[in-house]
């Protein structure tokens, strides 16, 4: 734990700024929550490896003053698996876009969850491909407008929480950029959890999703996160079961973590060899 006041500049690379995000983009709030969380945990910057893929969200890795690995679209979790398994004492954090994590990267997502390798996956879900200019994603859901869905989408969406749960993630949580403090606290728990942790954070892309779907500007979109979500098990769900739940859905500390399990393999192999 760390009681010293948080200073954003201690955690970012000034050389890298200004950032590339549009005004009103939700991704910067995720960055803020993440850095505050890391500060409060008092983690050593040298022990954090931030690995990301490609997308507006993935640019986050370059901005932070940790070891940072900006890889290729969808594959960040596989690079992070190499980092983590080879040096289990490092903290592996992987911020991802919804397309990055669940379209092109969907296979790596479920397999990292299945292995229960100690990586924190943050899905910055804006329900759109921001970086490439507003095409629909596997999180858009049906009836949405996108540059590749001029007549509206017919594709169903994933539920990230359900997917992560059934794939075997041992920590699964959801929040939104409106709930930045809650998001920070969930991220802290996820980072300290030993095993594969997933935090979905609903984020807004006013530039494409907002405009195409007439959801207004950044402020209106954030109000939407406030009005359309509730804490897990809230009474409000009785009246409106369509509200999106926030909080911790899974926290399982019994399942063996992958790198620790591999250490036992090494022990066995070395015994057999001597």
């Amino acid at each position: 734990m760390n009681d010293t006041p948080f200073n954003f500049k201690d955690y970012v690379r000034s050389r890298f700024f200004p950032h590339m995000w549009c005004p009103g983009c939700g991704h910067g709030i995720v960055l803020g929550s993440l850095l505050r969380g890391i500060h409060e945990l008092g983690l050593n910057k040298n022990e954090i490896v931030m690995t990301s893929g490609i997308g507006c969200s993935s640019r986050i890795s370059g901005y932070v003053d940790f070891h940072s690995l900006h890889t290729i679209h969808g594959r960040a979790l596989s690079f992070a698996t190499g980092v983590k398994l080879s040096r289990p004492h490092l903290k592996a954090i992987v911020p991802m876009g919804d397309g990055d994590a669940l379209a092109i990267g969907g296979n790596h997502f479920i397999h990292a969850a299945r292995r229960n390798i100690d990586i924190t996956a943050i899905v910055m879900n804006n329900k759109i491909y921001g970086m490439t200019g507003g095409q629909f994603s596997p999180l858009s859901g049906p009836g949405k407008k996108a540059t590749t869905a001029p007549y509206s989408t017919i594709d169903n969406e994933f539920d990230i929480v359900e997917l992560a749960k059934s794939a075997g993630a041992t920590f699964v949580a959801r929040s939104t950029v409106f709930h930045a403090v809650e998001a920070k606290d969930l991220l802290k728990k996820a980072i300290m959890h030993k095993g594969f942790s997933v935090v979905e954070i609903l984020s807004q892309c006013p530039t494409y999703y907002g405009r195409k779907n007439k959801e207004g500007d950044a402020v209106q979109m954030m109000e939407g996160f406030k009005n359309n979500t509730v804490k897990i098990g809230s009474k409000k769900l009785e009246k409106n079961p369509n509200l999106i739940q926030r909080g911790i859905f899974v926290e399982d500390t019994d399942k063996p973590e992958y790198c620790e399990a591999y250490d036992h393999i090494i022990e066995t192999a070395m015994k057999g060899n001597s």
Binding site: R15, S68, H70, S78, V83, L85, I266, T268, A269
Partner: protein, 384 residues
Amino acid sequence: MTNKDNIRFIQGNEACVEGALYAGLNFFAGYPITPSTEITEHLSERLPQTGGKFIQMEDEIASMGAIIGASLTGNKVMTATSGPGFSLKQEALGYACMAEIPCVIANVQRGGPSTGNPTHVSQGDINQARWGTHGDHAIIALTASNHQDVFKITVEAFNLAETYRTPVIILLDEAIGHMREKLIIPEPGELPVVDRLRTHVPKGVDYHPYLPREDDRLPMSDFGAQHRYNVTGLFHDMWGFPNNDPAVVNGLLHHLVDKIENSVNDIAMYKEYWLDDAEYVLVSFGSSARSSIHLAQNRRARGMKIGVLELQTLWPFPTDIVREKCANAKAVIVVEMNMGQVITQVKNAVDNPNNVFLANRIDGQLISPTDIKTVLRMIQGKGV
């Protein structure tokens, strides 16, 4: 002195495993595919015995990603695959070129395209090794025709990966990968092993991960150590920060290509047999070099002036060496199991490309000395 315990009778794929361990491999990620699977299987057993790590990933893309991640934490890394899997690796392989990550990729070739001829021999991936990933880049690819050489070029692959900070491809073929023959494992120290060049920049002093030294080498700092920097597949400056300034883009691309192409003669490995007075030169590599050597030996016994140039480095292509070795030849026959991939390079290298002929086989069968003899007799104007 050869210790009896160091003598093995094994498959070429195992010789590759032994070479990798000798070179200091300590992280492997892979996905099974014929005819490379034995490399993956053997390493799952051998690596943890040495304290190293093995992981079977969900596919070849993920395997490539995992080894790049593990290389950045300071490990010697490798993956192994064959045609379809090699195709899947190409995007991440380009990433390793761009971000200058040492890693070794073994491709035990089978017949292609597509699922092709999984259990049969081919040498059809030579050009894919060169140009499989998009964009201008340079690549190093090595091959061998017997198990002692497979061991040696595997060690060399790791050495070159470290020296040039680049992916290095080992191109075996199904015949070499699955054939069993003797391997004598060299004693430690017998073959040179190049270790990771790490920076001496002290803590608190600005470290430039992408600023080459005078000798063009780039000392690394392990992820987890004191220097925190950015690694990206975007064009980047000396700190590893994305930068698309035309001068930066131009400079980086030249650096990536020049560091390898300008060292072509240092990287070149080859063997020659009876070339001194050869009027006929067989240029070959991998298992087809075995048939070439066999035929040349047989024809020599009958007084024919014939020799073999066996290439072990296929990329960067040793153009000057091929030109020099073929300079006095009446005819050059390129022996390969594809529709003519290396022959393009040989024609480009020699003074008279009209004297370069192809002896090939593409049906999944090992090219035989007789197949080569047939081409030789045609060139000589003799009946076949």
